[in-house]
Every structure is written in structure tokens, then in C-alpha cells.
Amino acid sequence: MQPIIKVKNLTHIYTDGQNNKIKALDDINLAIMPGEFVAIIGTNGSGKSTLARHFNALLQPTEGKCFVNGLDISVDENIWHVRQNIGMVFQNPDNQIVASIVEEDVAFGPENIGIPHAEIRPRVEAALASVNMTEYAKHAPHLLSGGQKQRIAIAGVLALLPQCIVFDEPTAMLDPRGRKDIVKIVQNLNKEKHITIVYITHKMEEAILADRVIAMEKGKIVMEGTPAEVFGQVKKIHELGLEAPLSAEVAEALRQAGYELSRDIITDEELATALCQ
């Protein structure tokens, strides 16, 4: 099967305000397969957002290549295909909503790619239904909660019928309830609509829901594997300046104290079962 996103020896160098060259990404190689749910973790400045912005052709590689469905993102003719197929949801829900009525905003994407007038409304309705926001179609976005705004932003991307959605810390500015809603919607999109998910996060409780976790540091991929494989190595996670999920931390502490516990423990349930044995 052809990977939906393929990154080959990608390096990205940018110049900061003081004219210093900064290497945000350093020789990255990565393939994301259709239907996968990949979480990317790492501290601030580790390059995870920079990497994600290449997937959508918002940034271009300094060296190396990035392909979407086998199409090179640095070729101008491919950009609209890439942006339509790789949707992007950002951190601040306020700054990605364009129109002052919810349904108008969701229609923004399809209008941009010239979908015929008659097909836009069904798309908008379907997109709003998949994020449970149908009843808010005529509302003004500024009166909605953060979580609801973020759901509108997701609907706006869904209306373009993308194969893959890249989420760049979508829950960082939300309250616990909004966070839960978004995580649930993301999981549904992956499981039921088979949309490929790339999920950048600081919250390890969200990262363990992925099929694969990628940890980044200083522009390089330093760990990669299933959530159990990555978070089992609690010490290494700490060295990256991150925290493992609470259960993995507790299991590690118990192991240090001499108890024999599997390194696969990352969820509360797994910890509870192991402790009861």
C-alpha cells in the first residue's frame, strides 16, 4: 500500500529575528499509512508543528522531500490536491474560523475549491452532523464555547472530504469537557470514517489512544513505536522532558521499589489488572 504521507530526509532551516539559522527539522524520515492514527509528542520547539505544516504544504522543505499520495508537495500544481486531502486543525479555535455564521464557515473550504453550489449544503450538513453541531448551524461562532468552536473547525476541514487530518494540539486551549469531546470525535473519525489522523499533543493521556507514537527532540525523531513501547521506557521519556501517562509513571515507581510489573502498562485499566494479580 502506498503511504498517504511520506517524508524523505526532510530538513527545514529557518532564519529567526536575529538572523540566526535554526534547524527546526533535521533529516526526518517517516511514512504514514492510510487509516493510521499517529500521535506526535515532544517538548516545545522540538519541531513537531513544523513537521506537520509540511504535510499540508504550508511549509516547504529546505532539503529532502515530502510526498502526499505520492505527489511532491514542492510542485505548485500539487498544492491544492495536497491541501484538500490533508486537512489541518490548529490550536486556537478562534483564529481558524472565518465567517460569522457557523454553516458559512463550514462552507468556506468547499467554496474555495469550487464545489458546485448544489453540492455544498449537503457537505456542510454532513460535516456538522459528524461533529454533533447540527443544531448550531445558524449560530454565531463567538458565542460558542472553546470546545464547540474547535468542533466547528473540524467540521470546516471535514467539508473538504480529506483523507487525513493533522491536529496541532487541538485541545491545548480547551477545558476538560471540551477536550474529551474532541478526543472522542477524533477517535470516531479514525475508526468509523477511516480518516488518517496525525495528532500532535502534549497530553500523554491522548497520545496513548494512537496506533503509533512518535517522539521528537531537537528536530529529530527519537522514539517511535506503539504507545506501550514508547511509554514503557519511562526514563527515556523523562529525559526528553516529557511525562509518561500517570499509570506508566506509577508502574515505573513500583518497579523501582522492587515489584515485578510488565513494561506494557500505560492505561489505568492495565495498571489495575496488574495490581490485582
Binding site: 484538500q84 460569522s100 462552507a107 475549491i113 453550489h117 456542510v124
Partner: protein, 271 residues
């Protein structure tokens, strides 16, 4: 403090006027403005006033609401009246010391201020009966033919859409910044104009910085949703002219003809 603002002054409804195509309404407003400038006699002003009143009635707007719309310009209206009253030449009907009011001055003053009142009222009726979004659509359509001479129709409409979207957000933000600065001991009330203007700086600077940051993020988000200007763009709302738009257009033609006839025939009478 700033939370209870309403956007624009749209007065939702389902009347004949509300349902008209925005393009019809914009063009009708423009032709009414022409009619106002053509009007010269008391009779033609009476026709115009009757027309505005019947539109208000048709749109089922509260008359008081429309009358209130002249409030922001009332000083100018009073001034216009005053200047014409005091500077008019002709038959003196009232005088006190060096001040004298003439019959011509009085009628000029009344007509000129009535002109302003009518212009304000008709444009308010337009915004009362048309939601800002629909209005934006209408403006974009009407400006399209002028694209060839360099009028950025789509860009103007997009700017209006984004402005409408972000006005409440930025107002909220202003409110937050004001509270934050007040918590640090900033003083916004009292003092002379200069002191107050200085007091605004700690609000304006963070507000501008944040607005630029927002603009930057919004631009990236728009691009990631395939935005590339007006080229090849479609719209969820298609504007369609209906029978009622034809009716409205007819009404406007009749109005202009009446005003025109009154103007020219009046001239003939004088001759």
C-alpha cells in the same frame, strides 16, 4: 462592559422587504438617493416621505427604531437647519437685533435637513432588513462587473466577512485587556483628554499585537483550507432575482418618474 453589543443593526423579520434580494435593495436605496437629490418642491418631498413611511410599514419595522437612526447625525441636521435659517435671503418673517429669518431660508432649511433625514432613514432601512452577511454577498455581486477596472470585489467582501467575524472577538479581548490593566492599577477614567488618550495606550498596544497575531494565524488556517482568492470560488448561497424584486424595481421606477415629473413640470410652471 462591552459584552452586550449587537452586531450591525439587523432587525430580523420575514416581511416583503426582508425577503428582497440584497442587490435589489442596494440598487433601490441608490435610486432613492438619486430621487432625493432630484426633489425640489414640497410636493415631491411629501411623496418621498410617504414612500419611506410605506417601506417602513411594509418591512414591519417599528417607526421609532428607524427614527432613532438619525440620532448620530442630529447635530449636523440642526446645524444645516440653523445655517439656512440665518443666511437665507428674501422676505423677512422674523427678526431680533441683527438676526433675521427669511421665508426662503426657512423653506431651504427644512428641505435640506429633511434630505439628510430621508437619506439616513433609507440607508438604515437597508441595514435593518438585510443581515450583514447577505449584504456582503450583494455588494460582491454588484461590484463584480467593476473587476475589470481594478475593483477588488471579492477581496472587499472577504474583508467585510472577516471584520464581521472578528469585531466581537476583539471587543471581548479589549474588555479582558482593560481588566488586566486595571488590576495593575491603570486608570482610564478622569483626567483631561491628553491624560485619557495616554491611558488608552496600554490597551491599544496589546490589542494591536494580538490582532496581528490573530491575522497571521487566520491566514495560515485559511490557506490550509485551500483559500486562494476569488478565482474559481463558488458560493453556498446563490442570489436569485424573484418576482418580488421585479415589483420593487417597478416601484422605484414609478417613484423616480413621479419625482422627475414634479421637478420638470414645476420648472415649466415657473416659466
Amino acid at each position: 462592559m462591552l459584552a452586550d453589543i449587537t452586531l450591525g443593526q439587523y432587525y430580523p423579520g420575514t416581511s416583503f422587504v426582508h425577503k428582497l434580494d440584497p442587490r435589489t435593495k442596494i440598487l433601490a436605496t441608490m435610486s432613492f438617493i438619486i430621487a432625493v437629490f432630484l426633489a425640489v418642491s414640497a410636493t415631491s418631498y411629501a411623496v418621498l416621505v410617504a414612500f419611506v413611511l410605506s417601506v417602513i410599514f411594509l418591512a414591519r419595522l417599528p417607526v421609532l427604531l428607524v427614527v432613532k437612526s438619525i440620532k448620530p447625525l442630529w447635530i449636523i441636521i440642526v446645524l444645516t437647519m440653523g445655517i439656512h435659517l440665518l443666511t437665507g435671503q428674501g422676505e423677512v418673517i422674523w427678526s431680533w437685533k441683527f438676526i433675521s429669518v427669511t421665508k426662503e431660508g426657512l423653506s431651504m432649511g427644512v428641505m435640506m435637513s429633511l434630505r439628510l433625514v430621508l437619506l439616513l432613514m433609507i440607508s438604515s432601512i437597508l441595514t435593518f432588513t438585510t443581515s450583514p452577511i447577505v449584504l456582503t454577498d450583494g455588494i460582491e455581486y454588484l461590484l463584480k462587473p467593476f473587476k475589470r477596472v481594478g475593483v477588488p470585489a471579492h477581496e472587499l467582501a472577504m474583508m467585510m466577512t472577516i471584520a464581521l467575524r472578528f469585531i466581537p472577538t476583539l471587543l471581548e479581548e479589549t474588555d479582558r485587556i482593560m481588566k488586566a490593566q486595571m488590576a495593575r492599577g491603570a486608570e482610564f477614567k478622569g483626567g483631561n483628554i491628553i491624560a485619557r488618550a495616554k491611558g488608552m495606550l496600554p490597551i491599544l498596544i496589546p490589542l494591536f499585537i494580538s490582532a496581528f497575531r490573530r491575522a497571521d494565524e487566520l491566514a495560515v488556517a485559511m490557506e490550509s483550507r485551500c483559500y486562494h482568492g476569488g478565482e474559481g470560488r463558488t458560493s453556498m448561497h446563490e442570489l436569485v432575482y424573484r418576482h418580488r424584486d421585479l415589483l420593487a424595481a417597478l416601484a422605484m421606477v414609478v417613484l423616480i418618474v413621479i419625482i422627475g415629473v414634479l421637478k420638470w413640470s414645476n420648472g415649466l410652471c415657473v416659466i
